[in-house]
């Protein structure tokens, strides 16, 4: 395996470069040294103007980070904002009524408690409550965020979600696409929302995603074939 790093190990960063640290790397406030704090694969990417350093590891608990796409459930409403849960038992995040397309004092969003939504993390600071938005804040226009109606949410690990969203060559969604039409939203908080044409196909997708998380990609065609066949049989 590529370079596996453990907490407290030393990492070699090219000197005199601007470094951006990602997950798993901590700037020790006392010594001012960068140190790894998780068990993961070391990634040092000097290709851009600044060198990015982070650890690639899998986990289950989501910590909000600015720019992430997330799927949340509305847990309560306030005078000017919603409280949204991104992960069970985690601190809820805020979604302002103004963070919607065409929002104004009069024009209020119509979401209810228990609704699912797709959003982007707009502010994330470890000391403060995170905020999310359902609008492209640079243009103020609709950007595909908002209420997710119907369908089902599959809970998977965070690294699997990242792979699905960022790796365009990852075969899972393409393979499912050969069997059925579907809509999908991938939240980096470990949630995948999927909705196919009918309820049984959606269920097939649900089981496929759960199975595929534990299997190498070479098995995917087989899993997908079996899962669809099994539901076609049960419908008879």
């Amino acid at each position: 395996m590529v370079n596996l790093i453990y907490p407290g190990d030393s990492i070699s960063i090219p000197e005199r470069t601007n470094v951006v640290t990602g997950p798993g790397i901590y700037l020790d406030p006392k010594s001012q040294h960068l140190k790894p704090i998780n068990v993961g694969i070391e990634v040092i990417d000097p290709s851009k103007r600044v060198t990015s350093v982070y650890l690639d590891f899998n986990s289950k608990r989501y910590i909000p980070s600015e720019g992430d796409f997330v799927i949340g459930v509305i847990t309560s409403t306030f005078a000017d904002s919603y409280r949204v849960s991104l992960a069970n038992f985690s601190t809820a995040v805020t979604l302002s009524y103004m963070a919607f397309p065409n929002a104004s004092k009069k024009n209020r969003p119509t979401l209810k408690v228990g609704d699912l939504l797709y959003a982007r993390v707009s502010k994330a600071n470890k000391e403060l409550e995170a905020e999310i938005e359902c609008v492209d804040s640079s243009t103020g226009k609709d950007a595909g965020y908002g209420h997710l109606d119907g369908g089902v949410v599959v809970d998977v690990s965070l690294a699997f979600c990242r792979e699905l969203l960022f790796n365009n060559d990852f075969p899972l969604l393409k393979l499912i696409g050969k069997r059925t039409e579907f809509e999908v939203a991938i939240g980096l908080n470990g949630k995948i929302w999927i909705k196919a044409a009918d309820i049984l196909s959606t269920l097939a997708c649900y089981r496929i995603i759960l199975d595929c998380e534990k299997q190498p990609t070479s098995q995917y065609s087989e899993i997908i074939k079996n899962r669809f066949k099994e539901l076609a049989n049960s419908a008879d």
Binding site: V73, G114, D115, D149, V152, I199, L200, E230, L231, S234
Partner: protein, 305 residues
């Protein structure tokens, strides 16, 4: 419970829709229990029960204590079911005052202790002054529904597996023999009650359920956590292999009619029969591996039957 798991409206709707199509999320039939795996530890009375993702550990232990004054001929038997956040963050440590926790421990208590599954009179050593106090400590390790069913299997397997040290009594003097000196003796287990939990879902509105004739309610055996969170009612039936109904527990929820209840009992019996056989098979296999030479060393005559 400390804090609840958040469930979205769509998740609930999706579950009901799939149930209407007669399929479950994990692909089981409505009346299918998850496969139960029973693992026995090195010590006697150490049992790990795994049912799908649900995991329960049970440990039986005993010590010498004083019997209750009003019951001088009976030993003591306690089942402790305490939750910890290990099973899931929704459980609070040591706080068993929540409705679900209380109900869960009461049902297990009724199924095993109050049904007389353990012969407490056999625990008496010296009437009125010394008896065995047997404890069953149930540890909920992972919660994916079906804690009651899994715990009941774990406690019963533990009681069947456990052996207490042998004692000799001469007057008021009691000698406890360590296992090296004398073979420990098994507990007197009178019958093996097994719990089967049904979960009910109402695909129509409540009014239809009470007044209507359609009987569209859906009943599932051995719900997983996501099914448990969304169910409208629950029923736990405890039976033993002799077709004796030990307990029927239905605390509120969806109203049921009598025929459904009978139907559930029949379904439960088949499961109970299978599980009792499994428990006994596991115990027997363990006995054989522990005591490989018993057959050779036995002085019993090998009679031809």
């Amino acid at each position: 419970m400390a804090k609840d798991i958040e469930i979205s409206v769509s998740q609930g709707r999706f579950l009901i829709e799939t149930l209407k199509q007669k399929v479950r999320l994990d692909g089981r039939r409505f009346d299918q229990m998850r496969d139960v795996d029973i693992e026995l530890g090195k010590d006697r009375g150490d049992v790990m029960v795994t049912m799908g993702k649900t995991r329960v550990h049970c440990r039986i232990s005993c010590e010498i204590a004083q019997p209750y004054e009003d019951r001088p001929f009976e030993g003591l038997f306690v089942i402790s079911t305490e939750t910890s956040p290990m099973a899931g963050p929704q459980f609070e440590n040591g706080n068993n005052t929540g409705e679900d926790e209380v109900l869960c421990s009461r049902i297990i208590e009724k199924a095993v202790r109050r049904s007389g599954a353990l012969d407490v009179e056999g625990l008496c050593i010296v009437a009125g002054s010394k008896c065995w106090a047997v404890r069953a400590d149930v540890h909920f390790l992972n919660c994916d529904g079906g804690f009651i069913d899994a715990s009941c299997i774990a406690v019963m397997t533990g009681l069947l597996h456990f052996k207490k040290p042998d004692v000799t009594v001469s007057g008021e003097r009691v000698t406890v023999h360590p296992p090296e000196e004398r073979e420990p003796v098994p507990l007197g287990v009178l019958h093996t009650p097994i719990c089967v939990t049904f979960s009910f879902f109402n695909p129509e509105d409540t009014e239809e359920n009470i007044k209507g004739e359609s009987n569209n309610e859906i009943s599932l055996i051995d719900a997983t956590l996501s099914e448990e969170l969304l169910r409208d009612g629950t029923l736990t039936i405890t039976l033993n292999k002799n077709r004796e109904v030990v307990q029927v527990s239905k605390a509120g929820g969806l109203p049921m009619d009598a025929l459904t209840l009978m139907d559930c009992c029949h379904k439960a019996y088949n499961i109970v029969e299978r599980l009792t056989d499994q428990v006994q098979r596991v115990i027997k296999e363990d006995e054989q591996t522990r005591n490989q030479y018993a057959a050779i060393l036995s002085s019993e005559n090998a009679r031809e039957s």
